[in-house]
């Protein structure tokens, strides 16, 4: 699969259709986000798998926002999984990226990763490499839904109380781009405190992500204290789906909440 991706990226760069390809590269014994401009470098391209599938995933679409803004004259190729494609769609919708400036190169995630992510669609619509495997359902959400309300409330409070206020969930998020963050708004929560206000800090962010989250799971991976954020946001997905018939990351238009 990786050879197909390398070949396609090479073709894009050599044809002059793109001026840079944002992907991942093996260097310094690690896997790093990298903007390929020379086709020769593509030999070291990596899909984000070091010891196991997808253990070195990065929010490439987020990095592309700044690069593309600084260089409106260029067109960029970008390596995308299913979740990255969903984030691209969301960023187009919110005018953070111009689809005319972006050429996605999609590949499918393997079984193992689809399972670990409980991903509804572990491949992009435009999939140019890899075997598509079927989507999974949200078992983690179902497990929490099965709890008694009081037990569930305690569970989440206990999880949120571990927060060390790194803001990593926001900083890693491919669809967090607001100039003024609601987590810094005194009208919504008590700011300038440590630990942050529980459970409000995380609920404010969760509500803000309604209509935006694309279920990439990078927030949970970035959390130093292991708060199951992905499960929280999957629940938001389920609510948006059942109450508004809106599928976050999959629906083509902006969420109905954004019209309020």
């Amino acid at each position: 699969m990786i050879e197909t991706v390398k070949a396609k990226a090479k073709e894009l760069l050599e044809s002059g259709n793109i001026q840079g390809f944002l992907g991942l590269i093996e260097k310094n014994g690690h896997i790093a986000p990298h903007l390929f401009t020379d086709p020769v470098e593509l030999q070291a391209l990596n899909l984000g798998d070091r010891e196991k599938a997808g253990d070195a995933r990065y929010p490439l679409t987020k990095y592309l926002i700044q690069i593309a803004k600084a260089h409106p004259e260029h067109i960029f190729g970008i390596l995308v999984r299913g979740c990255d494609e969903r984030s691209l769609k969301t960023l187009y919708n919110w005018n953070q990226l111009d689809p005319n400036q972006v050429v996605p190169l999609g590949f499918a995630c393997p079984e193992e990763l689809a399972e670990a992510c409980e991903c509804l669609q572990p491949y992009p619509d435009a999939c140019e490499a890899g075997e598509k495997v079927s989507g999974r359902s949200f078992e983690g959400v179902a497990k929490l839904d099965a709890m008694e309300r009081g037990e569930r409330f305690d569970y989440w409070n206990e999880q949120f109380s571990k927060c060390i206020k790194c803001y990593g969930c926001r900083d890693v998020c491919p669809v967090c781009f607001c100039n003024e963050c609601s987590l810094a708004s005194d009208d919504l929560i008590q700011t300038k405190t440590f630990p942050p206000e529980t459970p409000l800090f995380h609920l404010v962010r969760a509500v803000h992500m309604a209509g935006r989250c694309v279920d990439c799971g990078l927030c949970e991976q970035a959390c130093p204290v292991g708060i199951p954020l992905r499960t929280l946001y999957k629940k938001i997905y389920a609510i948006m789906d059942s109450e508004f018939d809106y599928q976050m990351g999959y629906s083509e238009e902006k969420s109905p909440l954004n019209l309020l």
Partner: protein, 135 residues
């Protein structure tokens, strides 16, 4: 157009978190925690996530300063280095090497601390070297 990522180690606490500094056209624009780091596995604290912010602060020192008539004034490197070396030499010559003292730094690299103590010991001739390990 030049976008690069440099894998490095945090300058704040002793955890030793690894991250990439994102550089766009010569400016540091962000910090990306390294997912495969043995110490932080793709996570950071608030200080780490924002460590790039102070790097290009306009208050950074950009020129040597020498005190003249009570005021710190900009100087060129030749003058600053010559003046410093000659003052250190003058004091060591007059009152002995132990009249000089050196503060090493928990912020600087191993290589820098090593040649600094080498300068103090082998160059100047004093063991008066310490840093804020206790603070």
């Amino acid at each position: 157009m030049n976008y690069t990522t440099a894998l490095t180690t945090c300058t704040y606490c002793g955890c030793g978190c690894n991250f990439y500094l994102e550089v766009l056209d010569g400016k540091v624009i962000g910090t990306i925690p390294c997912k495969t780091s043995p110490t932080n596995e793709g996570k950071l604290c608030i200080k780490g996530w924002n460590v790039h912010e102070f790097v290009q602060n306009p208050k950074r020192l950009t020129k040597p300063l020498i005190r003249k008539n009570g005021q710190l004034l900009e100087a060129d490197w030749e003058e600053a280095l010559d003046f410093t070396a000659s003052k250190l030499k003058e004091i060591a010559g007059k009152d002995g090497p132990d009249s000089l003292a050196f503060l090493a730094s928990a912020k600087l690299s191993n290589e820098e601390n090593y040649i600094y103590q080498k300068f103090a010991r082998a160059g100047v001739g004093t063991n008066n070297i310490d840093h804020c390990a206790r603070l």
